[in-house]
Assembly symmetry: C4
Homo-oligomer: 189 residues x 4
């Protein structure tokens, strides 16, 4: 089956998530510069989530460029990925409202892990459907980068109960690693 | 007429429905693990609706793959299907707020029946437009699977007034039957 | 310039309008059948708006099928049409909350007129860009149907101040006339 | 890489921003003509934002028409542009609620500047990816129009602290300059 509609649907869902996230930022209390400044931490939290969702979209975009066809399993793996990404505004808002308490901070990590796992699952489903000698399979290999990423999250989540900021620093680190879209795929295309 | 825009529009509507549904989950009261746990039933209710809408999207995707052209009747049948699917977040929220009272639970079943009927209507409209020897017609036949599905719903709705959980169990059963996208269409493509 | 992106953008905007309109229906007060019944008038009001927006989408779909290229003027005419359509959920909600008072009912008519005028403007802009011997120009002619439609609205709006229900009946009449997508275009394609 | 998905994603995000902005207009207090009239200033503020976002979409549409391929840097530059555009409903709402106080009015200008800068960044990224002898590079040159636009904003922002209406007048002036989509690109295509 053709991949075009899978891409279009994913774009629609991620466009809504990314937009609604930014629209949820609350108005400052009053029209002064001080009111604006006191809202800056929240602003940065949302900017970071924007980047995180942007990373998933960019990598998805690259992965699908190296894909030739899709089947029913790929559709469901993709819906699973979108499900976890769609929970991101929810977990971020929770972290915000509880001033980065331990459980919300850990939940955000769990959401990132589930998204990363779904992404790997989608990658496997696409490879199974396109053959292990397809462009994607040759570009990605056994995807060591994703595995390291999962290990970092697995360490960060329990640490949220010790010091939430350590967990957040590790989430940031992980985001930075993925900021540059997949060079391996760009090379092979 | 070309089917591309019908697909794109449907993707847009379903993307919004599926995303807003997840965004509607309320934040837990406080930042503890207990607060998160007490919200789990609602979380599963939303996860199930996500799967239900996902099923319609996957099957729609398969059906349109086997479609060559569309006409004005197909456009309206599709809009009718989207109307009933768009009511799903509404009926789910109602079930939630009334703790699965009889009428809301029955309403959810009515919404699922109307969606299933609209889906069949759309199938018929596409066959009428593409000819009864088209790929879709050969793949789907008289669609016995959909007919059985309708019968199960017809039984579940009155049962909601006896014991709501029986109705919900039947809805789940129906979802499971449709979870696997249409193999008949995959075979013929 | 290529018309593909104009179609995609329009689909996105209309998909959001149509979906959010349905999501705005308020939950019934309590879980009884009586609570559901008392919400039925609102439900029908929303169903009608859904049909109205659906009519614009279907006709837009037909018109663009007969279009070969677009320019900057077409883009702006299209944005103007989307602006007026996007105000429909607003005017409907206002009619709802004021129990069909004169001014809100007249406003709804004004919104429909502006949408219809923008639609004609878009039609003209497309013809200017594709030539007056293009497929669209031959199919539509001087569009007498649209002109009659505008006259009916012009009569309905002042009547809203006499008896709102007469205005609403005229809006319904107009919707019915446009329910069948443009046969003239289907014939020529 | 192919530009199609970048366009589709951008359309999705802008469609949501433009629609939600209009949906946010509050209902008039009561059903009278006076209630409607008192809401007109807010209505015009939203109409102007609609035009502003429409300008970015039209120019983006033109720019991408003259683009042949995209890479990872273009994807991120585009996400940055969408980020700043997505903040527009936020800054407008803030201006509204504070009755055009100095800081909110200046913030709106900052948002417009950041959007314009991101647009230039995107233009550069596309030229770097398509070559400096590409269609876009020949059409746009060193983009003097955009540079003048930035200078006007740079003057308007501090003036918001002196007289907010002067800043707003300059924003309007800037919008008018960009209202006509890029003729240079239309000529070269």
């Amino acid at each position: 089956m053709d991949k075009g509609r899978l891409e279009a649907f994913t774009d629609g869902v991620i466009a809504i998530i990314i937009t609604i996230m930014v629209l949820e930022i609350k108005l400052p209390q009053g029209g002064t510069l001080a009111a604006l400044t006191s809202g800056l931490p929240v602003f940065f939290a949302y900017a970071l989530s924007y980047v995180n969702v942007g990373i998933f979209w960019n990598n998805h975009h690259h992965m699908l460029q190296a894909t030739e066809q899709v089947d029913g399993k790929v559709l469901w793996a993709n819906l699973l990925l979108l499900f976890w990404i769609s929970l991101m505004p929810f977990t971020i808002r929770w972290m915000d409202e509880t001033h980065f308490a331990a459980t919300p901070t850990a939940s955000y990590g769990v959401d990132l892990v589930m998204s990363a796992l779904s992404y790997l699952l989608l990658e496997k489903a696409i490879m199974a459907c396109n053959g292990y000698d397809s462009k994607l399979a040759r570009a990605v290999g056994n995807d060591r980068k994703a595995t390291i990423s999962l290990v970092v999250y697995a360490v960060a989540i329990p640490l949220a109960y010790y010091r939430p900021w350590i967990a957040i620093a590790l989430y940031l680190l992980n985001a930075m690693v993925w900021f540059v879209p997949d060079q391996r795929i760009e090379k092979i295309i």
